[in-house]
Symmetry: C2
Subunit: 212 residues, 2 copies
DNA sequence: TAGATTGTTAATCGATTAACAATC
DNA sequence: TAGATTGTTAATCGATTAACAATC
């Protein structure tokens, strides 16, 4: 399907393009979009758009552009988001709860597609056994391995305290999780083959401070 | 002070180095760290570490490495985080509240240095006028311009609904804010000179899905 | 001194931009 | 057809890695 693995920057922009296409498609009317317009809306050059897409195939018509719906579906296929992806959440603190509610509201009505948060985990006995939101049950962290296997969780979101993050990540990896989004302010180590993204407010603020 | 503006990737890694140095310094004992150890801990090559630092000056001793405390202070100076930086938060929903509490707990006891969340903003009359956490008051969004000026807010965190984000960003920019961290799932437009970072869970999940 | 590690230059690698023939 | 825009190649730009003299 993919010949070579695409560079990370390309994958990031693909997700951006997909968002733009969603906005354009929401305007109604099937229509075409040029690499110029797509680029303008996504904040990249037209050449960059064409180059990125060319990495995966030919999706446009010369002189016309790209059919919005078609390109949308192609990109969804490439990014693997044309199916249900089951997501787990570790850490049902304030941030974890906020994330759970956000994800639930954003994706749960999208039917069989995209991201479904289906389980969350914590060590607090007061939280375990009751739903964090909707039908998203909170399991004890000890059950992580079993639940990952039983429910087929593929991506994990980590919203646990910094001190616990590495242990939880290790447990996820041991259970077969291959992608982790880490909100804890620590550098985690994962084996090759496991994809780790970070979302770290303090790190972002420090970077921003440089430009003041 | 800075000759040329450093590339974004370098700035990102600088923040990473700073975190590592903090961890090492917390171990106690003043000591030296080599580009190899710093690199290992930060997940980059030793050559990269030296190249990044060389961008700003000479901070090491041949045959020995870098004095942890010294390098820490140098990097804090370079990143501008050796002073109080006043942060505003727009949007006191679930995510906003979680972020406010996190920032308050993480930084408020750090005295005069680093990031201080000093004001938050919302349009909900039930939220306006009462603190979101500690002494962080919630102001009405209409007061944003005045409060930014009065309290000297430099960085803004946006945790408002997608539909409101661009208007709030515009208001921040008009008030003189020069750095924004956006949590809303929309592409924002800001004028040159204003630095915009995004933290977007859906976008991250879509990228992660590619690697499944 | 001997060993280690920096700062820096040169070589490599990869990503972005420019340009244009192909073609809808 | 004439105009527009793609897909792709070549040129440019920038970032990473390798290597090593300088030196603590």
């Amino acid at each position: 399907m993919k010949h070579t693995r695409a560079p990370d920057v390309v994958v990031r922009r693909l997700a951006l393009y997909l968002r733009v296409l969603g906005e354009v498609a929401a305007d109604g009317v099937d229509r075409f979009i040029s690499s110029r317009e797509l680029g303008d809306r996504a904040g990249v050059s037209p050449a960059q758009v064409r180059k990125d897409l060319a990495f995966f195939g030919e999706f446009g018509k010369q002189g016309v552009g790209y059919e919005v719906r078609v390109l949308q579906q192609e990109l969804q296929g490439i990014l693997n988001v044309d199916r249900e992806i089951r997501v787990g959440l570790a850490g049902v603190g304030e941030l974890g709860t906020a994330l759970a509610r956000y994800l639930y509201r954003r994706f749960h009505h999208d039917g069989a597609y995209a991201f479904h948060l289906v389980a969350s985990f914590d060590v607090d006995p007061d939280k375990v056994g009751r739903p964090v939101e909707g039908d998203i049950m909170v399991y004890h962290m000890d059950e992580l391995h079993d639940v990952v296997r039983r429910l087929g969780l593929e991506i994990f979101i980590l919203a646990v305290p910094a001190g616990a993050a590495q242990a939880v990540a290790d447990a996820c990896v041991a259970a077969g999780v291959r992608a982790i989004l880490n909100f804890a302010p620590v550098k985690l180590r994962v084996p090759p083959g496991v994809r780790l993204h970070i979302s770290d407010v303090s790190l972002e603020l420090q970077q921003l401070a440089y430009y003041l």
